[in-house]
Amino acid sequence: MRLYVYCLVEKIDRLTATIRGISAAPVRLITIEDFQLLVSDFEGDAPPPVTRENVLAHDAVVRTVLNHATPLPFRFGTVPTEAQLRSYITTHRDALEAKLAQVRGCVEMSVKIISDTDETESGWKKDDLSPGTAFLQQKQRELLGSERRAEEAKQVAAWLESQVGEYVRQEDVNLCPTEKLIVAAAHLIAREKIAEYRGRLAEARKTRPELHFLVSGPWPPYSFSNIELEFKTRFGVS
């Protein structure tokens, strides 16, 4: 028997209502090393398939405690045995405590910025070209376009930071993930600052009508939970 693990949380004594998780399994609270974890029993060894229902169930369970505490969400599909889970918690106890302290009292806001500007075609002749020349011109356009996107992404990220940085306790910013989406930022915001943050962001958006914004939240701090990735980042190995 394995456990499906939703999140780790602190200072939750009991669940106030019956919660159903993946495959409608009842969610229960277990305690390991002073941490509480929301889990449900899970049959089989392979993680559950990625379906709309399962993904929403995972997030819904994590959100059940969000109003009372800030959880550290596990990634979808975490199905260790209880022994493996206990070993993980015991081994990483200090890192988990530090991580909980980082996110305590905060939620995550997500800001994605999309640019529709397409400068790659401007200034280029579309005369009849040999296939080889057309190919090389296309590659050159792509390269120049990519460089412009990277520069634009840097500028937009810096602008975003200048607008809302005072409210951001921690951030995770990806620049230029694709041609259209130039900035994807996750902001860790103190709960009491959410209204101010939203207000400032709304004002800032008005000044950049050429950009599209996708703003969502509050989320449990999914982007600020993983201690393994930080280890990899810091030491270059996982």
């Binding site: 990625v50 993904v55 975490t78 694709t178």
Partner: protein, 74 residues
């Protein structure tokens, strides 16, 4: 199951996508790409995918791509 999106505020200038689709894409991004990982424990099956998941890792990709996938789904 109650919708988790009651608590999710979406503000979008991109009108091609329904709010529910955007909410789902955002949930996918958070739930599948982020969160605590127990090393060696994550092997997500992509079988029986019924929605936008082919665009999952490109979810952050572009609204354009997402929109195409959603149209195909619909």
């Amino acid at each position: 199951m109650s919708s988790p999106f009651d608590q999710v505020l979406i503000q979008s200038d991109v009108e091609q996508l329904e709010q529910a689709d955007l909410s789902l894409l955002e949930t996918l991004d958070h739930v599948l790409n982020r969160g605590l990982v127990i090393a060696g424990e994550i092997t997500i099956s992509v079988a029986d995918i019924d929605l936008i998941f082919l665009g999952l890792n490109v979810l952050l990709s572009s609204v354009e791509t997402a929109n195409e996938v959603i149209k195909k789904r619909g």
